[in-house]
Symmetry: C2
Subunit: 311 residues, 2 copies
């Protein structure tokens, strides 16, 4: 079995931008620290929720440099290395592995549609070969709603077989439990780490060999999600799962990234946090009020949960 650097609740960290639209390294470092203090097991920085693909490779590497310089433990980081070119993906990964990160999260090449499975295999293979590091731990990032290019069950198996010490896990953001279940049935038994891309499937995942989740709403609900992770074998598990599912369903009635940033802005009392980069748009005032009202209705409060976590 491969060594497994990650398990539990991982957060694809939101990226704050300054009012001028630049990545805000100061707020980013502070927020990453806060997430770890809240109990996050790992930080999947530069994912979809992070607006990573709205940043250049240089901007991403500069933010990672700042996190490391600030003393955030590299072993807890799983930076996204998504890029359409082997060249850029390899550059991002070499930089991350050079910092000693626990692993990287790897999108398929996502510009060209209708590519063959062999073409995607060749891409991942070329990236791994170009990086050429025994220290690399790669987690495949299956998110067909954005990429349209799947890491299908068979392709995953081929990559595990070819790179057993490198391709060690997968984030499944298909939103399709049947797909997650098929992956778990096929590969969890041999130590391949499968993370559903939403906490809605956390308990089902754990009961079927999954090792945690990597979830956008972790940005605003680490303590709740960790309760499920810590208590999944207890009689309370289903109720705890229902609690976090309710929070998630409330948030995802709105555009997810702008909604999460609006929640952070509100509960951290820091309005600048609401900024997004185009092509995303902030929530309107009406949407913001409706979102906060919906969250109040279900008793959600980041403040209270934070105090609970500190007790």
């Amino acid at each position: 079995m491969p060594s497994q650097p990650f398990a539990g609740v991982l957060v694809p960290v939101l990226t704050p931008f300054t009012p001028a639209g630049e990545p805000d390294a100061g707020r980013f470092v502070a927020f990453c620290r806060w997430l770890l203090d809240q109990g996050a097991d790992g930080l999947a920085i530069f994912g979809t929720t992070s607006e990573a693909n709205s940043m250049s490779a240089g901007e991403r590497m500069a933010l990672l440099d700042r996190l490391i310089a600030a003393g955030v433990p590299a072993a807890r980081l799983m930076p996204g290395a998504g890029a359409c070119s082997v060249t850029e993906a390899a550059t991002l990964i070499k930089h991350a592995v050079g910092h000693g990160v626990g692993g990287v999260l790897m999108l398929p090449p996502f510009y060209y549609k209708g590519m063959t499975e062999q073409g995607v295999y060749d891409f991942i293979s070329a990236v791994i070969d170009k990086v050429g590091s025994a220290a690399l731990r790669m987690y495949l990032y299956h998110i067909p709603p954005q990429t349209m290019i799947p890491f299908g069950v068979e392709l995953v198996g081929r990559l595990i077989k070819a790179y057993p010490d490198t391709v060690v896990g997968l984030k499944d953001s298909s939103g399709d439990w049947a797909n997650t279940k098929a992956l778990l049935d096929a590969y969890a038994g041999s130590g391949f780490a499968i993370f559903p891309g939403s906490e809605v499937f956390l308990l089902d995942g754990l009961r079927n060999g999954g090792v945690g989740c990597i979830t956008a709403s972790g940005n605003v609900n680490v303590p709740g999600i960790r309760k499920v992770y810590e208590n999944w074998k207890t009689p309370q598990a289903d109720q705890l799962q229902a609690d976090i599912t309710r929070v998630r369903m409330t948030i995802q009635k709105y555009p997810m990234v702008p909604a999460l940033k609006r929640i952070v802005a509100h509960f951290h009392n820091d309005p600048d946090w609401a900024a997004v980069r185009p092509p995303m748009e902030r929530l309107s005032d009406a949407q913001s009020q409706a979102l906060l009202a919906d969250l109040a209705k279900i008793g959600y409060s980041l403040g209270e949960r934070r105090r609970e976590a500190a007790e």
Copy 2:
């Protein structure tokens, strides 16, 4: 009316790679010169057919540097500046405009799906503002089969209105004549330059106010396509159009970019030209033989056409 640097037959130039998979600047420069010698009116380097999105920003800029250093006229170049981030798109455009290119071809941000029209507008607007150059001439690149993010008719109108001296044209690779027609009806009359993304629609486009085409098969058929452009008002126009449509339809029975590279490899007697970068795959031997046999059946020969062009 805005100044219009381009009209006629533009070629989204194939990018050659070395056997080791690196961009092959020598072959690239030679091929660009050959296309201009064949009669190409402009070179839309770094488009979809160029596998631009399988290259890093640095690789693209280095190739452009080499073309300029080799004396290829910058005014004839329309480099693609496609990128998912405002930062990278602006970097690519500043570099290209610094070289004095005629214009740039601009994709929408293509990672995130389901973005609003306002979000795409804000992205383009932010790029133009960040470049901040009166010399910029931008051609919008509508290619929903790859991007899933359209430049719809209304959005195009908003961008023209906001940036009348900058947003001066569009390449329509939707493959949907009704869409091209709607754009022509709405904006061609005011001097906005509309290029169908396939020569199949060249004659229809010219008859409805279009100014030429930007087409992948230009890589292997500039002389034929130029005949339609030069003779579109003559009685021979429909027959000439039928001739080039037949060539195009024959090629596009196969995966387009690998097929075009295989044709170049064959007729330029340079087998290395067949190389593609993943996620694309070369044609198999069987596909290659079938393609060349299909082309022979319709009497296609790059060699003969080349001699014709030189007469």
